[in-house]
């Protein structure tokens, strides 16, 4: 659906119109933030900050792209700033994993499996965070969020060709960082399938 009428109403000071835009995009923006920070509270705060920022800079939106693309671009830049502020190489230890998620009523094996999942997720997230920002961004947008090449190109303001080459380098770098863990996991999967 075209957002132009709602954006124009919001520009005239109609708060309900802006609220409708927030409702439409809140999940997408939250998911984007969560993909980068992997923490519900921080993702919620970031998503709120992004919408407040969007409201403040709505007059800068020139309608030369879709509102959703512009919103994503602002969101990506805001998240980038946030990551820079907190320091990209923050360690994610297993102590950061919320133990309360593992209910004592669950069977032990299920708990262990869930814990293992969480451990793997934390490891991938940590490896992603340790990449240079441009690789972290592009991998998150494409491989985590599943955006198309064209969408990624529009959001990052680069050509689809650059998206392709940058993605290749980013995946290669991430694989190198995670190689030992990935190989053992791959073998385990192959072994399980046989």
């Amino acid at each position: 659906m075209d957002d132009r009428p709602q954006v124009e109403s919001a520009l005239r000071g109609d708060r309900d119109a802006f609220e409708a835009l927030v409702r439409k995009y809140e999940t997408k923006v939250y998911h984007l933030a969560f993909s980068f920070v992997q923490d519900p509270a921080t993702a919620d705060d970031l998503a709120q900050d992004i919408f407040v920022k969007i409201y403040g800079s709505l007059s800068k939106f020139r309608f030369d792209s879709e509102f959703g693309t512009w919103l994503y671009r602002v969101a990506v830049n805001h998240i980038k700033d946030h990551l820079r502020k907190i320091g990209r190489r923050k360690e994610i230890s297993l102590q950061d994993i919320d133990e309360s998620r593992f209910s004592s009523e669950d069977p032990v094996r299920a708990r262990e499996a869930e814990r293992e999942d969480e451990r793997r997720r934390a490891a991938v997230h940590q490896a992603l965070q340790s990449l240079p920002p441009k690789y972290n961004m592009i991998l998150t947008l494409r491989d985590v969020r599943g955006l198309s090449y064209e969408e990624v190109a529009r959001i990052l303001k680069i050509s689809p060709g650059t998206v392709d080459s940058r993605l290749f380098r980013a995946r290669r770098l991430l694989r190198k960082k995670m190689a030992p863990a990935l190989l053992s996991e791959g073998r385990a999967v192959e072994g399980g399938e046989q």
Partner: protein, 164 residues
């Protein structure tokens, strides 16, 4: 197809359909190259992990919370101030006006005491203003001299000034 080309081929094949001739080339290389086979295993596992990132949902009343923040930001700062602060804010321009009026009065209104000082009057008369003080310094008794200087210091106390 060499190993580097195969790496690109693996990544492409994980994302989209590859035409049959290219697929055959890649498959042939993989069959002969254990390093590239393990590379594919790693990329598959990596892709699986990235895709499995949890998403979650924004907290309850997300939109309402955003709008409440916007409302607070847009509200003028004085709206939150207590009544006494509002009165203080209103009193500032009035106080500034009154202070300006007072200073203007001091500067522009003619002074009530616009007469000449004693020294100026003596100079205008062509007299030596120092002639009056000479006897004080000529006094030989030190106590008398000090008392005379103290009294002479205040011209407004001229009537109480002792005559030499």
């Amino acid at each position: 197809m060499n190993c580097r080309q195969t790496e690109r081929w693996i990544l492409k094949s994980l994302e989209s359909e590859i035409d049959s001739s290219r697929r055959r080339d890649g498959d042939e290389h993989l069959a002969a190259c254990p390093a590239c086979r393990s590379l594919r295993t790693e990329y598959e596992a990596l892709r699986g992990r990235l895709k499995a990132f949890p998403e979650g949902e924004p907290g309850p009343f997300f939109a309402r919370r955003v709008m409440a923040r916007i409302e607070v930001l847009e509200r003028p700062a004085s709206a939150d101030a207590p009544a006494w602060q509002k009165w203080c804010l209103r009193a500032i321009p009035i106080s500034l006006f009154l202070i300006g009026l007072f200073i203007g009065g001091l500067v522009f209104l003619p002074s009530a005491d616009d007469g000449w000082s004693r020294s100026e009057a003596l100079l205008l008369d062509g007299s030596n203003p120092l002639a009056e003080t000479t006897p004080y310094f000529d006094e030989t008794k030190i106590d008398d001299k000090n008392v005379m200087i103290i009294f002479a210091a205040d011209e407004r106390m001229a009537n109480r000034r002792p005559r030499p």
